[in-house]
């Protein structure tokens, strides 16, 4: 990455760190995560086991929201402020600008997740702390996947308000309604869907992939079997491939679209 890209990464990190909305949602995540950590410490042993899954539920709701808030204005915001042209008039490739924005905002996201889970680690017992440490990596991958999606939405929309509306729809769709949709499909087809098709549908959503991965990490494969997910779940290699695709493909598409745009 050239000097413009490197400068842009730190510029993005600094700018996001001063964004009120990002700060508010990150603080909310940190507060709720600390609450879960504290509850796990004070409660009975059986309840303490639920610290990890509770944090997974919390993270799968809030981390995508933080990521989408962070990224929805990355390109369209610059376009609306008339600064996109200024940025792209610098000696830098358009795809490098997209990559720098993903990395810079990804670092801000990592800081927000680190703040949230770190706060929970501070108040939880040693077992809880190791659980939280295990959560860090997959949670960051989940966030990066949604960050990349937000970046793509920001590239294809022409107004920041439109981008904000689309990311809210995406958040509700993938975080809340996607699983309901899969369940509905199962009902409609009267169980006619194969196990591998159901598994593919579940892991086809980064939020679903995250939940399944974490469920497997905390409760083992038995818990997944109890849910009827016995076959078709991806192995480690495929899981990595899926995460990489979710992170790289939308950002790469953004870079390609911006590079091909005749007018900025």
């Amino acid at each position: 990455m050239g000097p413009v890209g490197r400068a842009l990464i730190w510029h993005e990190l600094l700018e996001r760190a001063r964004d009120r909305w990002v700060l508010v949602i990150s603080m909310l995540f940190a507060l709720l995560a600390s609450g879960v950590g504290l509850y796990g410490r004070s409660a009975e042993a059986e309840v303490a086991k639920l610290t990890g899954p509770s944090l997974v539920t919390l993270a799968s709701l809030l981390v995508p929201l933080v990521a989408l808030v962070l990224s929805h204005d990355a390109i369209v915001g610059e376009r609306e402020r008339n600064t996109l042209g200024l940025l792209l008039s610098l000696p830098v490739a358009r795809s490098e600008v997209v990559a720098a924005k993903l990395i810079g905002r990804g670092l801000a996201l990592a800081a927000a997740i680190g703040l949230g889970l770190g706060a929970a680690m501070l108040v939880s017992d040693p077992d809880g702390a190791s659980t939280l440490l295990a959560l860090m990596g997959p949670t960051l991958l989940l966030g990066l996947a949604f960050l990349s999606m937000g970046l793509f939405i920001s590239t294809v929309t022409r107004r920041q308000a439109t981008a904000a509306s689309v990311v809210v729809v995406v958040w509700f769709g993938l975080v809340f309604f996607y699983d309901l949709g899969v369940l509905g499909l199962l009902v409609i087809t009267d169980g006619g869907l194969s196990q591998s098709a159901v598994s593919a549908l579940v892991v086809g959503n980064p939020a679903g992939l995250y939940r399944i991965e974490m469920m497997h990490a905390f409760a083992g494969s038995d818990a997944l079997q109890d849910l009827g997910l016995t076959t078709g779940l991806p192995g480690t290699g495929t899981t990595w491939l899926l995460w990489c695709s979710w992170i790289v493909v939308p950002a790469a598409l953004s870079g390609a679209l911006l590079s091909r745009q005749k007018v900025v």
């Binding site: 000097p3 413009v4 490197r6 400068a7 842009l8 730190w10 510029h11 600094l14 700018e15 996001r16 001063r18 964004d19 915001g77 402020r81 008339n82 600064t83 042209g85 200024l86 792209l88 008039s89 610098l90 000696p91 830098v92 005749k262 007018v263 900025v264």
Partner: protein, 304 residues
């Protein structure tokens, strides 16, 4: 040719021909003003030069050599976009530091630029609290930060107060004196007229006229307005003078209070002065008004 030359620029958006075979030379030490009605293609032309619009056809030259719009080309450009509104989360200093790092400019230059654009105090504050004029000055600071060969200004006067305008004129003068180039698009013809060397008039994506203000005045063939102060001279003598000028038949003659207005072609002003010299004691003063650039512009657009 030294400096920048863009030839044959053609840009089509779908079925709309936005620029059609536009040629634009900018020589070292020269400031060129782009004017034209909305939709004439001024901003598109600027964006082509900055690599923000991919033209369907264009040939670029820098100092007589063929050039591409690549990173080397972009390093020579400084850009002030129209109505720029930087993100409010940063301070002016932080924004300038980013552009300084991106362009490989030493940090010391940031303080220099802040002083130059009069934002030393405000530079520490969040941009959110800046007025429109302050944001415009900050944008000008970003544009001049790397001391580019070509300063590209899109509607630079918008939002600027008198102090801001003085700053803009001094920056343009500095660039011209240093042998660098300025290209500015504007609707404020009267404001910019005296600060620019050449004017390029665009209409519907084509160059309608290009030259100095004098060239354009000449090609517009608008009459000069000559005011003859007749003051206390007897009416009869004034009428004789008017009659002589009317007989001359080169322009419109009208008595307006204690003055006589003569509208004559620019190359006939001396002849008119000679006529009045034949009536000693009648005319106490002569004032010649050249046609305004706005009038020239309207005539050129009207004639197209």
């Amino acid at each position: 040719m030294r400096g920048l030359q863009a030839r044959g620029i053609s840009v089509r958006f779908g079925r709309l021909q936005v620029l059609d075979d536009v040629t634009l030379p900018v020589r070292p030490g020269q400031a060129v003003m782009l004017v034209g009605p909305n939709g004439a293609g001024k901003t598109t032309l600027i964006k082509v030069l900055l690599g923000l619009v991919h033209p369907d056809f264009a040939v670029f030259e820098m100092n007589g050599k063929r050039a591409e719009i690549d990173n080397d080309w972009k390093r020579r450009m400084g850009y002030l976009p129209e109505a720029v509104a930087f993100s409010g989360n940063l301070s002016g200093v932080q924004l300038l530091r980013f552009f300084a790092s991106a362009r490989g400019v030493p940090r010391g230059r940031v303080d220099e630029v802040l002083r130059r654009v009069g934002l030393v105090e405000a530079g520490r504050r969040n941009i959110r609290g800046y007025s429109r004029g302050m944001r415009q000055r900050l944008g000008l600071g970003v544009a001049i930060l790397a001391e580019p060969d070509l300063l590209v200004l899109d509607e630079p006067t918008s939002g600027l107060d008198q102090e801001g305008l003085s700053l803009l004129w001094s920056v343009i003068a500095e660039w011209r004196e240093a042998g660098r180039m300025v290209l500015a698009s504007t609707h404020d013809l009267a404001l910019m007229e005296r600060r620019m060397d050449e004017i390029c008039v665009l209409r519907e994506g084509r160059v309608l006229a290009h030259g100095t203000v004098e060239d354009l005045r000449h090609s517009a063939r608008l009459p000069h307005r000559i005011w003859l102060e007749v003051g206390q001279a007897p009416d009869a003598k004034v009428e004789l003078l008017c009659e002589a000028m009317r007989k001359w038949g080169k322009g419109r003659i009208e008595r307006v209070g204690d003055r006589v207005l003569a509208e004559v072609p620019s190359d006939e002003t001396l002849a008119l002065v000679e006529i009045q010299s034949g009536f000693p004691g009648v005319v106490r003063g002569v004032r010649v008004e050249e046609p305004t650039l706005d009038a020239v512009y309207d005539k050129l657009l009207g004639a197209a």
